[in-house]
């Protein structure tokens, strides 16, 4: 916590691995370090991490990396060209370079994934912890609502919401978020049910803390890690749902290079110009796989209860 406890430069590792942490921060960092050691031993997970980092870089430097504009093509001269040195992944039906579109599309994928996670996870967390802690009627009511949302086929519900909200990637994000919080609520509730029996919660209660304070300060933080793991594992699902919406013609607005919409477009040409659909499909696959590998590794590393 203070400079007094700071270890000598060479002793970082010992300090982190210490069995007797001197401070909360040391304990937390120590746990994180332990997790990282487990994680980094997992080669597949590291591969996933590498791809995700690559995705971040590609999205960040899309303007520098893309050889052409993702929006401008020439119907007459560059339409539906097969992969070549000039166009590595070929061109689409508007004559646009597919590689450039995929590079720019990475931004949309990241945008969707991050935003859905930011929106859905907190909703699930709040609903789950409140339900779990309150019990009784509130629990029953909240869990009924959760069940109602779970009882819908996810994609159809998302479809309905997009149709109601209107097209656009932001609305697709909202629709996906609305349909993806229930599992988080269930996890958070299950965690809360075990945590709320803990002695320290009782102690806080005796000290007169308000229920909101208990949920927010003492229960929620403990549920966060399992929800994060679940969210990471779900990232692939989110990407696939977004792509599915794009594929069904909802979600992205043309000429946005959303990968799912690109497949939908390529579907018309799949028999002769297979590359139009193949490249964005492969991109979705690669990124989903990366998030899955990452989530898998994270779960092994962070979740002490998870089977290793």
């Amino acid at each position: 916590m203070s400079a007094v406890n700071a270890p000598s430069p060479g002793g970082w590792r010992e300090w982190l691995m210490s069995d007797r942490p001197q401070s909360r921060r040391q304990a937390a960092l120590g746990r994180a370090y332990g997790g990282w050691r487990t994680f980094s031993r997992n080669r597949l997970a590291m591969l996933g991490l590498a791809i995700v980092i690559a995705l971040l870089l590609v999205a960040l430097f899309a303007n520098q990396l893309a050889p052409y504009s993702p929006y401008i093509g020439d119907l007459r001269t560059t339409r539906l060209l097969p992969p070549s040195a000039a166009h590595w992944f070929g061109t689409d039906d508007q004559g646009r370079d597919i590689l450039s579109r995929i590079i720019h599309g990475s931004r949309i994928t990241l945008f969707v994934v991050v935003l859905v996670a930011i929106l859905a996870a907190p909703i699930g967390l709040v609903v789950g912890t409140v339900a779990g802690y309150s019990g009784g009627l509130i629990d029953a009511a909240l869990m009924r609502i959760t069940d109602i949302f779970l009882a819908f086929p996810r994609l159809i519900l998302a479809l309905a919401f997009v149709a109601a909200l209107g097209p656009g990637i932001e609305n697709a994000v909202i629709a996906i978020a609305i349909t993806s919080w229930p599992p988080y609520a269930r996890i958070a509730r299950a965690e809360t049910l075990t945590i709320r029996q803990a002695d320290y919660i009782a102690a806080v209660q005796l000290m007169g803390a308000s229920p909101w304070r208990i949920v927010l300060r003492h229960i929620m933080p403990l549920c966060v890690s399992s929800v994060i793991v679940r969210v990471t594992l779900d990232m692939a699902g989110i990407i696939l749902t977004a792509a599915g919406l794009g594929f069904l013609g909802l979600g992205a607005q043309p000429p946005t290079p959303e990968w799912g919409a690109m497949i939908a477009n390529g579907r018309l040409y799949v028999l002769d110009q297979w590359w139009v659909a193949a490249a964005p499909g492969a991109a979705i696959f690669l990124v989903s796989l990366a998030f899955n590998l990452l989530g898998d590794g994270l779960r092994d590393a962070l979740d002490p209860k998870g089977v290793k």
Binding site: D93, A163, P167, G249, P254, D272
Partner: protein, 534 residues
């Protein structure tokens, strides 16, 4: 030991692979007496001619129901007798008398009489479903139809109109599906609560046409069989089966594999690729359908005449014609499709960004503006929208595309809350008035107007043009009438908020053993009963 854990999935995998191989059955061709058509016909919602108004349903009706007359598919300006063997028009032009053919029978075996004809027309007017306007525009109403349409003899029927319209206009309308002749006895035997058989006919058949409808399952299949009671030359095919297949690529596969005889919704690329296939042939006919982009006059920028014109210079017609609509469309810049009386083939517009920029500057918008366009997520419409988006951008006009399903964009369009809209309009019947009525007529531009033609939907107030369109519908001299439409089209090209892009060319690809397939100019004139198979 642990080996068993390995062996078990191993043999299961083997079993699955074996099953996969077994599944590779021989792909047989379709039976000789059966024609299999793959087509996207999810728009069909009823089998009742009095209500049916969808493109695909038009074809089903055209093959299964006779009407008084049909137009000649080889020269649509000519009329041919169908159930009426002859017809006359009274000197005042208000009374039409039809003489029916003797000995014609319905598929049920009941004879075709003037009672059936009168009943059919009266029923369509009384039910007053969507296509009823084709008949009611001649002054027929629920209350007077029994007097205006009468069986005056066992085989004689008269029709009385409220004004003396161009005879060709009235007779052309009698070829429409809504004027199909129903088996009165059969329909009335199925009547419930005075519904004139409406509930029953939705999914059943009561006609006399060359083919009879055996079964319709929405979005799946429509099966027709030869009607052995047909008065004319009987169909060579025992049955015609339409199978709903939405995907063009799928249709092409089915066709190539011989699982289908005719594929109807192929893309330009598919048609190009199939040209190399010896076993497949193609046939096409320009249809009465035009594709356009419209500009809502409620949007102050789009309401400027210069902007309206500028938009017409910002479409790369030629490039679109050579790529996106190659094989399936012909660039066309007039509201009357080629084939209709008086249709113009003038094409003054081409991509000219500088000219458009000049016009925009004149309109006080030298830097362009932002605008939205509602687009259905189907090809080639979406592709054209994207192409126009690109070219318009070069003049500074920033088009935001709002994609949507068909019904969704249409709902918005009909509420006049769009900026720009890309859509198509197909002729309802084979007469120029059908398109003039919607593009060039807007009798009431108020929000709660009684009729909502395309001009209304884009808030284009045109009292003068409306008058001209009305006059043309009443002109009985065909040559004069033609001239009036030519004039209207010239004015329309210059001033209208409609950027006409192309006329649809419907192409079907078919197996080489199929013969006598001809796509009709309207959907109800694609006659499958004339097709033969080797």
């Amino acid at each position: 030991m642990q080996n068993s854990g390995i062996r078990k999935p191993g043999c299961l995998l083997g079993a699955a692979a074996f099953a996969m191989l077994m599944a590779g059955s021989a792909l047989a061709a379709t039976p000789k007496d059966t024609l299999v058509v793959v087509w996207a016909f999810d728009d069909t919602i009823t089998m009742d001619p009095a209500e049916s108004f969808e493109i695909s349903a038009g074809e089903f009706m055209g093959n299964s129901y006779d009407r008084l007359l049909r137009y000649d598919v080889n020269d649509p300006s000519k009329l041919l007798p169908d159930l009426a063997k002859s017809w006359t028009v009274s000197p005042d032009g208000k009374t039409f008398t039809f003489e029916l053919r003797e000995g014609a029978k319905f598929a049920s075996g009941n004879p075709v009489t003037s009672e059936d004809v009168a009943f059919s027309l009266q029923r369509a007017v009384t039910l007053d479903k969507t296509p009823a306007f084709i008949l009611t525009q001649f002054g027929l109403t629920k209350d007077n139809v029994k007097d205006k349409v009468k069986a005056t003899g066992p085989l004689t029927v008269t029709l009385e109109t409220d004004k003396s319209y161009a005879p060709s206009f009235v007779l052309n309308c009698m070829t429409a599906n809504v004027a199909a002749i129903l088996d009165k006895k059969l329909v009335m035997s199925k009547e419930q609560n005075g519904d004139l058989g409406y509930a029953w006919l939705k999914t059943n058949y009561a006609g006399s046409g060359p083919l009879k409808i055996r079964e319709w399952r929405a979005n799946e299949i429509l099966a027709m069989e030869r009607n052995d009671n047909y008065y004319g030359e009987k169909s060579k095919l025992a049955r015609v089966i339409y199978r709903h297949v939405k995907e063009a690529a799928t249709q092409r596969l089915l066709l190539e594999k011989g699982d289908a005889d005719i594929a109807r919704n192929l893309t330009p690329q598919d048609l190009d690729a199939l040209k190399a296939n010896k076993d497949i042939k193609e046939t096409g006919t320009p249809k009465g359908t035009v594709y356009y982009i419209s500009l809502n006059q409620k949007n102050p920028n789009l309401a400027k005449p210069e902007v309206r014109e500028a938009m017409k210079w910002l479409v790369d017609y030629d490039a679109i014609g050579d790529t996106l609509i190659k094989n399936i469309g012909i660039v066309h810049q007039n509201f009357l499709p080629v084939g209709l009386l008086g249709a113009s083939t003038e094409k003054p517009f081409k991509l000219d960004v500088d000219k458009a920029k000049g016009l925009l500057a004149k309109a006080g918008l030298p830097n362009g503006f932002k605008v939205t366009m509602d687009v259905r997520t189907v090809q080639p419409v979406q592709g054209i929208a994207e192409a126009v988006q690109q070219t318009a951008k070069r003049a500074g006009i920033d088009i935001e595309i709002i994609p949507g399903d068909g019904k969704q964009t249409l709902t918005k369009y009909r509420a006049r809350t769009h900026d720009m809209y890309i859509g198509q309009w197909g002729a309802d019947y084979w007469d120029p008035h059908t398109n003039a009525d919607t593009f060039a007529r807007n009798p009431d531009n108020s929000d709660d107007a009684k009729s909502k033609p395309l001009a209304w939907r884009n808030a284009w107030a045109i009292p003068e043009l409306t008058k001209k369109a009305d006059a043309a519908a009443l002109e009985r001299d065909t040559e004069k009438r033609k001239g009036m439409y030519t004039e209207m089209q010239a004015e329309f090209r210059q001033t209208s908020p409609f950027v006409l892009i192309y006329q649809m060319n419907e192409v079907a690809a078919y197996r080489a053993n199929v013969e006598n397939l001809k796509i009709g100019p309207t959907s109800d004139a694609t006659y499958m009963f004339k097709v033969t198979k080797q």
